[in-house]
Symmetry: C3
Subunit: 162 residues, 3 copies
């Protein structure tokens, strides 16, 4: 067994809900999975946007303040770009450029991630803070995990915080 | 000795001073330490906020411009949230939600980190830039380190930049 | 061969174009290289700013929208600071403090990175999205890579997303 044949693993803590950072997370995840890596995606805080069922600014979760956060978080289609936003223009320009240049869009990358059997996990703590339930997420979520469990899963591989 | 029994190590470069990112850093750190990891926290740039003694917007450090930066940096209680700030409202909402949902607040996480004997280090270079001294920080800071020393400490484990 | 003598490797995905984050990336990279690490820098999205030849807000790339992005991206000298910008004042204050306190400025760090033979790579996907060519970059770029190739290069070391 050479090092090449050993388990290759990439784990990503998807913290940001920004369009460009989510795109980077899914590009890395799918690129790795396509070349034989075991890939774990752990969605936390704003990153939970990416796996919410209800897209658009509909209130999910319970409790007034959680609802306020839910509305502010929006969803995949309303993810801001971290650096430039201009009242929502930049994500549209990004999508346009990605389409035009034959690069996978974020929705396509999410779809590819499902097909490539990338492991999706949701962060228990962030769900508590934001008042979200497992039922608020897409069914591909394999489990709701705490930090310790996720770190254990990601041992022996490369781990990124995005 | 199985892989499970070998040293488990998590090292975090705490660069951001944003409330949500600091919360993520301390949640990961304490979660790891609580399950037997050796944890190294290396505070640099805005992350140095988290370990400053004088909380509130009091000028620390020497030199006028360093003071301006010190005032802008504020401290733990005035950390902005990376994505949403609304004139300081979001950190308060966050704290409220954390309290309400029985999740540890940032101050509690910092306290837990001390109890769990997580290693706190301050970045020498950033301290020079910002005009900060070791005496500006909480006494739990184990050492002031350069990049090379920190990388050496973090070898063989997982390292995150937050 | 002890663990100390084995290959020490640091790989950085330089995603951000913010002045402070680029400074952190180059500080880590040069600090590691100076102590014997193999260092790989993979520039993607806004991070591509750091390796563009034409500094200043001149339009590079082809296509109108790509040009708009090019102008918005600017270049190394116009990189905003992630947390505080104030119409471009903060990078200048940062530079001033770095000079005054005898800390290497970003340009000096980039120069040092070249001298230390740090490996510079550009992200193929981001170049497609932003309409950039290899000829838009400094000649030190070793190769244009996809995600899978970069991950393979960074295996067995520490990898950071900045």
């Amino acid at each position: 067994m050479t090092a090449e044949n050993q388990t290759k693993k990439l784990s990503i803590i998807a913290f940001s809900g920004d369009f460009d950072k989510l795109t980077a997370a899914f590009t890395l995840a799918t690129g790795a999975a396509a070349t034989g890596y075991e890939v774990n995606l752990f969605f936390t805080f704003w990153g939970l946007d990416a796996i919410k069922i209800k897209q658009g600014r509909s209130p999910v979760g319970k409790g007034f303040l959680s609802k306020v956060f839910g509305i502010m978080m929006g969803g995949l289609k309303s993810s801001p770009v971290s650096r430039l936003n201009f009242f929502g223009a930049s994500p549209k320009i990004f999508r346009y450029l990605m389409k035009k240049n034959n690069v996978a869009t974020l929705e396509e990358l999410v779809e590819a991630a499902k097909q490539l059997e990338i492991n999706f996990y949701a962060c228990e703590m962030a769900m508590h803070v934001l008042g979200l339930q497992k039922s608020d997420f897409i069914p591909e979520i394999k489990a709701v995990l705490g930090v310790a469990s996720f770190l254990k899963l990601s041992e022996g591989g490369q781990t990124l915080f995005i």
